[in-house]
């Protein structure tokens, strides 16, 4: 029998509902897995085993008495440590926030808690969701479960590492310039940046108000959809929250690809930021498989990737700079060096530049909206390289920006990373993105699930 920690969320959920697996057994096995692997991976900032076990026992009793509240009842979910969990510090992986104890759960945590989820760990992140892998912080950086000599992507690095390593069936990340999809890509996961405003950001430490998203990270597409079912919904306490009617994101997972029009944005990885041959080949193979399964593929041209990236930075930095202004002035030495270097430009971008970027943003949104009048979904690269070695600072610095995720933070469209290959030399996962019109998460999941069924990657796991 498969060990409980190795079960995808949907399988564990079905076994719990059938009375064949208890939340206590599942949590016990996950905690044992964490204990065994944490010294290698540094995925967790804070473990909460006592509280989680008490919640698992309560879930077990309630499920035995009256059945599960939801498919997440009794399921352990990890939280990136910029997301508030009442009564515990939200450190943001930073010396500057070590003692800030959250008084309330983040809105998204409240939703998951009401659905019966359990929270056994706060997970590593790049400092304030903007730094990079750093060795000069109070906690070590998370490592890649497929090869711990390499980074797991970021900034939701601990979420990627923990779910990739089968420590936890699911985790939450946040995504301002690709920070859910980057670790999802490097850890072989499904990671969704939902439509802007679909998931509340209340109680999540801000990086950039108009670009921040909270998203689910899981091993399978179905698991991801199940988590989003609970996470999505209007929150009057979040000024950026959308009013969108609830829907079941699992409803179309079986429907397949037949007739779906998918536009392949080849110039992102062929011209704008050339991918390694291995990544390019994996993307072409994925496109061919999508077509074989019934999708109608075409080539789509969007504005250059570099312009999306520049607009993202020109918006993200001043917004982050407003949040960090006092610390940058008074305690610049308390950031990791990499975080300080990334944040300091925020103080030198003019108000004019910021507004110009927001004006150009509207044009970029219109360009992507125009593409969606011709196709149902877009296919494009995620990272242009496999994850580099974590201690090779120059290579981390070179490869981190070589990606195609920021366009959809700028435009707010939903984008899902899924695995599409493995690098031969290092045995590291490669990822691709499926992107859709606003609020088309169900359609993205439908296409991704069909690809996942047809491709061999879902059966692969890191050898730890």
């Amino acid at each position: 029998m498969t060990a409980p920690h190795a079960l995808p969320l949907a399988t564990a959920s079905a076994l719990i509902a059938a009375g064949r697996l208890s939340p206590v057994e599942l949590l016990t096995d996950c905690l044992a897995r964490i204990e065994a692997l944490e010294p290698k991976l540094n995925a967790c900032i804070r473990l909460l085993p006592e509280q989680a076990m008490a919640d698992a026992r309560a879930a077990e009793a309630e499920i035995a008495r009256s059945g599960p509240r939801s498919p997440l009842h009794g399921i352990p979910v990890g939280l990136k440590d910029i997301i508030d969990l009442a009564g515990h510090p939200t450190t943001c992986h930073s010396k500057l926030q070590l003692d800030r104890v959250a008084e309330q759960d983040a809105a998204v945590v409240t939703k998951l808690r009401e659905a019966g989820a359990i929270f056994p760990a706060k997970l590593a992140t790049h400092e304030f969701a903007i730094g990079g892998p750093a060795f000069d912080l109070p906690f070590p950086p998370a490592r890649n479960p497929w090869n711990p000599a390499h980074h797991p992507g970021g900034s939701s690095s601990g979420s990627g590492a923990a779910v990739g390593a089968r420590m936890l069936p699911a985790a939450l990340g946040t995504d301002t310039g690709g920070s859910v999809r980057h670790p999802a890509g490097h850890c072989g996961l499904a990671g969704l940046k939902p439509t802007y405003g679909l998931v509340s950001r209340r109680g999540v430490f801000p990086l950039a108000f108009t670009l921040d998203h909270v998203g689910p990270m899981t091993r399978t597409v179905r698991d991801n959809a199940m988590l989003l079912n609970i996470m999505a919904g209007h929150d009057p306490g979040d000024p950026g929250s959308a009013r969108h009617a609830p829907e079941d994101y699992t409803r179309g997972l079986h429907k397949g690809l037949k007739g779906l029009r998918i536009g392949f944005v080849r110039h992102f990885h062929e011209v704008d930021t050339p991918a390694t041959p291995e990544v390019a080949a994996a993307l072409e193979a994925a496109a061919a498989l999508l077509a074989k399964e019934g999708a109608v593929l075409s080539t789509v041209v969007l504005p250059p990737l570099g312009e999306f990236a520049a607009v993202n930075r020109a918006i993200m930095l001043p917004e982050a700079g407003a949040v960090h202004e006092t610390w940058l002035r008074e305690r610049p030495g308390d950031y990791a060096a990499v975080t300080r270097r990334r944040l300091l430009p925020s103080q030198f971008i003019t108000g004019t530049d910021y507004v110009q970027a927001q004006r150009r943003r509207r044009e970029l949104v219109a360009a992507v909206e125009a593409a969606f009048r011709e196709v149902d979904l877009l296919l494009c690269a995620s990272s242009m390289d496999p994850a580099s070695k974590i201690d090779d600072a120059a290579e981390v610095e070179r490869t981190y920006p070589r990606q195609a995720r920021t366009p959809f933070n700028v435009t707010g469209h939903p984008a899902l990373n899924i695995m599409c290959g493995v690098s031969r030399a290092e045995g590291l996962p490669l990822g691709m993105q499926l992107v859709g019109p606003s609020f088309s998460e169900a359609l993205i999941y439908r296409a991704a699930a069909a690809y996942e069924r047809a491709a061999p990657w879902a059966a692969m796991a890191p050898q730890l």
Partner: protein, 64 residues
């Protein structure tokens, strides 16, 4: 007569980053260069009437 402060020192002081300039001058100098480079990295909209996104939100009437 003391040396005139450098351009970067003046910009750092104007941005309120005196301490960062004193303790991490190379980081501040790099930040000034990066911000200047970003200025030319994207196209400005040609139309003077192009609105930023998101727009300023108009107040909603009660019951609307």
């Amino acid at each position: 007569m003391p040396d005139a402060p450098s351009r970067d020192a003046i910009l750092a002081e104007a941005a309120g980053l005196g301490r960062a300039w004193a303790d991490h001058p190379a980081d501040v100098a790099e930040a000034i260069t990066a911000a200047a480079k970003l200025r030319n990295a994207f196209r400005r909209p040609a139309s003077p009437a192009a609105e930023p996104m998101p727009p300023y939100a108009a107040p909603q009437e009660a019951g609307a």
